[in-house]
Symmetry: C2
Subunit: 251 residues, 2 copies
């Protein structure tokens, strides 16, 4: 008899090539799988809600795995966290329904992109925000942010190498939260293409600086003319905050 275990994971992505196992460096998934093997004495395969790019952080990544071992959930929060490096931690562990699948069952995700607005860079904020020297026209930014909401063809907002078959995605909300000198861009949606949130953030900044007009923005959002959104905001400003599931699936 096997158990299906769901983990809630936090990590500082600074020193990793991203979530997914890669040939060119250390990934968060690889570290977690190695430490789970050490803890369980058997190899396991983690299924995650999705990937994160190199350098992106997570407060609420979700991943599940099946195991024949029946350790108490405490063993994951305590034993596993002692094995993991300081920049990765398991916040919660639960036994879930045998059919639960972190990716297929995800109903939505919340990403936060953080800007640091100041003439001078910040040693204390540098790991978790994109430093912008000039002030932004947040009125223009809010106007464009509101246009993201709903179903759109996001083909202009996907990074090179994105393998998704369809480019239509639904965005539930895009909120700007001002906590000077920080400006958080909270994006909630059903699903995202590769680099999509970073391109959304970069494009909002370009709109705020009048480097992209609102008319151009509308054209990018219609996805009709082969235009490319951007720039792609740097990875270290992005954090995966939460992934949502139906109640039925999560217990």
């Amino acid at each position: 008899m096997t158990s299906n275990i769901r983990l809630l994971i936090e990590y500082d992505g600074t020193n990793y090539v991203g979530w997914q196992v890669q040939a060119n460096g250390l990934s968060v998934q690889q570290i977690l799988e190695e430490k789970l093997w050490e803890l369980l004495g058997e190899p396991v395969r983690l299924i995650s809600s999705g990937r994160t790019d190199a350098g992106v952080h997570a407060r609420g990544m979700v991943a599940n795995f099946r195991t024949s071992r029946s350790l108490p959930m405490r063993a994951y929060r305590e034993g596993l966290n002692r094995l993991l490096p300081v920049d990765i931690a398991v916040r919660e562990a639960h036994i879930v329904h045998e059919d639960f699948h972190s990716r297929f069952d995800a109903r939505g995700k919340w990403y936060r992109y953080t800007l640091y607005l100041s003439p001078v860079r910040s040693p204390l904020a540098r790991r978790f925000s994109w430093h912008l020297r000039s002030e932004l026209d947040t009125g223009r930014m809010r106007c464009a942010a509101g246009k993201f909401v709903g179903q759109h063809d996001f083909r202009a907002f996907r990074g090179a190498g994105c393998g998704a078959r369809t480019t239509v995605r639904e965005i539930y909300s895009v909120d700007l939260l001002e906590e000077p000198p920080f400006l958080h861009i909270d994006v909630k949606g059903e699903g995202f293409l590769r680099n999509m949130v970073r391109m959304m953030a970069g494009t909002l900044v370009a709109v705020a600086r009048e480097k992209v007009s609102l008319a151009e923005f509308d054209r990018l959002l219609r996805g009709a003319h082969g235009g490319k959104a951007g720039p792609t905001a740097p990875a270290h400003g992005l954090c995966l905050m939460e992934v949502w599931y139906d109640e039925r699936q999560s217990s």
Copy 2:
């Protein structure tokens, strides 16, 4: 003719032996003096508002120096910041009265000690907070915190090697700011002994956990019985937020 220049400095103290030049490793002061020398072409000596321990952070350290060069203030915010490592930055630079002295003229300081309260450690908060696994009785903590306010003999709250001649200090306020899972302890006072804020924070936690009774706390604060406060909370939870000066001195 020499100018007296006042700098407002932010740093992530993780990788330094503290503010002051030490034989056993790299200090923030040393780095700043080296880069100022590079910028100005002449050696300068920084006078700071005080020291910070190894690993302690600062958002508002103040230091001044005299120079015969007359660079525009912009050169310190821009040129100097390009020379400095990513974990140190000059936020502001101003020409001040020739008599201004960062230490002697300081009228008070604000320190923030940050606790992270959660059963599980946090990869994202770890550099800037002290992780405590169990909940704290904040009622008891607030009661003790209020007792710090006023003039007291803090001899029980000074670390080994403290060279201060007198141990009486005035505390203006100690506020607990709850932002779950964070609890900030904001301490404002005229001046501080070595390790004093860290010992105050550690003692408040001991009171909250009933390891120190309120009666014992009162005895420590009277400084009469040779008792030692503590434990000394770890350095990485502490940040020097601001140093105050009389208006006359600061312009």
